[in-house]
């Protein structure tokens, strides 16, 4: 075991996969020579060479489409989109081809690839660099969508995504790349896709979040516990497939829930979670489920990010509403 950041955990997981699985290739813009704009692929090109770690032209649709062909042809490509806003040119490939091939060929051809996408704001980046568009991928039949929030899950979920027989969109919270650390095994391991994680057990209230928002969720829970509110914290981790069972078990126990996400509110993935809760937990609910989310606006530039991003204070205000109902 060693203490690593989320970024380092991803780097090590990729290194293990490249070393242990002959069919894995890493492909994307600047992933080789510079090790990626976030250095997630740092050092891999030197270790594994240009046939395994491939610097591509600046062409997201090409990366997704060529990677798709590689996957059908027997490889397991791990593709990097440099930022979520840059993944939009690849939508046609991802939605029309990657997500559909198993279905349209009745299992004859499959696309076991991973599309890694750094996402989310809070680092004062340029326009288009702070998107949280997970709902679009979740709304595309045929894709799995996972979002780690801590180094161990990042490494384990990435390995599971690489080994998965179906395409996985792997979202990486930019803001947490270097701000969370934990002990992670030095050898490769998997974390199952499709299972949520109860990070803290509690009996009064469930805070449900994923990815970057887990930081605010944890801080809000700590503040609530200090106030005597026994708060349960649930990291969804896997949006598709969704672990409905764990969500339901938690909310049936606590009777109160808040869903937190950075993406815009309307048709955000929180809406699906709230719908699942109301359908399966109605008679256990002590209060309407609250959502703490980004607004239905363009993600603001540096000076106004705080206006948009869900904060600990907003979560605590929502908790107050839920607890006093």
């Amino acid at each position: 075991m060693s203490v690593v950041t989320l970024a380092q955990a991803l780097n090590r997981s990729l290194e293990h996969a490249l070393a242990e699985m002959d069919d894995v290739v890493v492909m994307g813009e600047d992933v080789g020579r510079t090790g990626g704009v976030f250095r997630i692929t740092d050092g891999l090109a030197d270790k594994f060479g240009p046939d395994r770690v491939i610097d591509t032209p600046v062409a997201e649709s090409g990366i997704a489409g060529v990677g798709f062909g590689m996957a059908v042809g027997g490889l397991r490509p791990v593709l990097e989109m440099q930022f979520m806003g840059f993944s939009y040119p690849a939508f046609d490939q991802i939605i029309n081809h990657v997500a559909r091939i198993r279905h349209r060929s009745r299992h004859r051809f499959t696309a076991p690839l991973v599309i890694r996408i750094p996402y989310g704001g809070g680092i004062g980046a340029a326009e288009h660099h702070s998107e949280s568009a997970e709902a679009i991928y979740c709304h595309t039949p045929g894709l799995k969508v996972v979002v780690p929030s801590r180094p161990g899950d990042a490494a384990g979920l990435l390995r599971s995504a690489i080994e998965d027989p179906d395409p996985v969109v792997f979202l990486e919270p930019i803001r947490l790349y270097r701000s969370v650390k934990e002990d992670v095994p030095d050898t490769s391991f998997t974390t199952p896709i499709g299972a949520a994680s109860v990070e803290r057990e509690g009996s009064d209230l469930t805070i449900i979040a994923w990815g970057a928002m887990m930081k605010e969720a944890r801080e809000a829970a700590a503040a609530l516990v200090e106030q005597g509110v026994d708060t349960e914290v649930l990291d969804v981790r896997s949006l598709v497939p969704l672990d409905v069972e764990s969500l339901v078990a938690s909310v049936q126990k606590t009777g109160r829930a808040i869903v937190v996400h950075e993406a815009p509110r309307t048709v955000g993935f929180g809406a699906e979670i709230v719908a699942q809760i109301q359908q399966r937990c109605l008679y256990h609910l002590q209060a309407p489920v609250e959502r703490v989310t980004g607004w239905d606006t363009i993600f603001p530039l540096k000076r106004s990010e705080h206006v948009y991003l869900p904060s600990v204070e907003r979560i605590l205000a929502a908790a107050n509403t839920v607890l006093s109902a």
Binding site: D23, V25, D51, I54, T56, P57, A59, S61, G62, G65, V66, G67, F68, G69, M70, A71, V72, G73, G74, L75, P89, D92, Q93, N96, H97, R102, H103, R104, S105, R106, H107, R108, F109, T110, P141, G142, K144, P165, D166, G194, V240, P241, L242, V244, E245
Partner: protein, 341 residues
């Protein structure tokens, strides 16, 4: 433009195929036309969904696919059934797809033909990835991708050509320039003088061939495939041909082009010139023609019957190929769909 066999059946260069092989491919051309005409007829009877006929393009498809190894990859479109069939795609599955059954997209192993791309232009990059994957796995299989003149306007044509050029991928880009992208003539699609010349920009050879000339198409594709197999990189082939029929059975070409234009191309028919060539070498007779047409018709009928005899795919068909393992939410929806049946 490379031409070996003129519309009147005269050789202007050495034939790249012997008489036996030419006879075999002539049968394939006759078969392709029978398949195509039958499909249009079945669509009019309401037995097939919308159909995209390829009459006029038979030599482009048959001649190019004949240059492949049986296990090479073929990535084409909804108008490339003749090429797919040449590469081993079962006829009944071609029809199954057109009856509206996803099982039509599942050729048995080891046939490496992708189900046809329905969106325009997105599939060319797949061929690049497939050929590249083969090379990285130490195989010399190549990939050929078929597309029309309209698809060269799509951004993914550029990305496919660019990736193939940069990484020297063993991919053959086979453009059937049939003059029309639904209602848009080739001149309105690109200001380039030819489509073949676009290859220069990507650092690969480009060649324009008479797409209605079986020999020219075979010869150019054979050279491109060999180049790809030897690891020398991609080639763009522009086959000059013509879609004698409508874009699809839902289209009416009289709204955008003249009868004169079609009639002129009818005189350049890809089958007729091979027929004359064989006839002049005592390899063709009216009886034989009637015999191979009857055989083609019988085979097509049998395949249609097989496709129509498939049980309806039902709920299982909608759900069971979404993932390797059905996730819980989908399993629940599957039960709901079954209850609603």
């Amino acid at each position: 433009m490379l031409q070996i066999l003129t519309p009147s059946g005269d050789l202007v260069a050495e034939a790249p195929l012997d008489l036996d092989m030419t006879t075999r491919l002539y049968r394939a051309l006759v078969f392709a036309r029978a398949y195509d005409r039958k499909s249009t007829a079945l669509q009019k009877q309401g037995r097939l969904a919308t159909y995209a006929p390829f009459e006029g393009q038979e030599a482009a498809q048959v001649g190019s696919a004949a240059a492949l190894n049986p296990d090479d990859w073929l990535v084409g479109t909804y108008r490339d059934a003749a090429a797919m069939w040449m590469q081993g795609y079962p006829l009944d599955l071609l029809f199954a797809g057109r009856t509206g059954d996803e099982r039509g997209g599942s050729p048995p192993e080891p046939i490496n033909v992708m189900p046809p791309s329905i969106t325009v232009g997105g599939h060319m990059v797949h061929a690049v990835g497939l050929a590249w994957a083969e090379r990285l796995q130490g195989s010399d299989r190549v990939a050929i991708t078929y597309f029309g003149d309209g698809a060269t306007s799509e951004g993914d044509f550029h990305e496919a050509m660019n990736f193939a050029g940069v990484f020297d991928v063993g991919c053959v880009f086979f453009c059937q320039n049939n003059g029309w992208a639904i209602s848009m003539p080739r001149e309105s699609q690109t200001a380039s003088e030819t489509i073949a010349q676009k290859a220069i920009a990507y650092g690969m050879p480009g060649i324009q061939v008479d797409g209605n000339d079986l020999f020219a198409v075979f010869s150019a594709t054979r050279d491109a495939v060999l180049r790809a197999r030897l690891g020398e990189g991609p080639t763009l082939i522009e086959a000059m041909t013509y879609r004698l029929g409508p874009h699809t059975t839902a289209d009416d070409p009289s709204r955008y082009r003249t009868e004169d234009e079609s009639a002129e191309w009818r005189r350049k028919d890809p089958l007729e010139r091979v027929r004359i060539y064989l006839s002049e070498r005592d390899r063709w007779s009216e009886e034989w023609q009637a015999e191979i047409e009857a055989q083609a018709s019988a085979e097509v009928e049998e395949a249609v019957a097989a496709a129509e005899a498939l049980d309806p795919p039902g709920v299982a068909g909608v759900f069971d190929a979404m993932f390797a393992d059905l996730p819980p939410i989908l399993a629940e929806q599957r039960r709901m769909a079954e209850e609603a049946e």
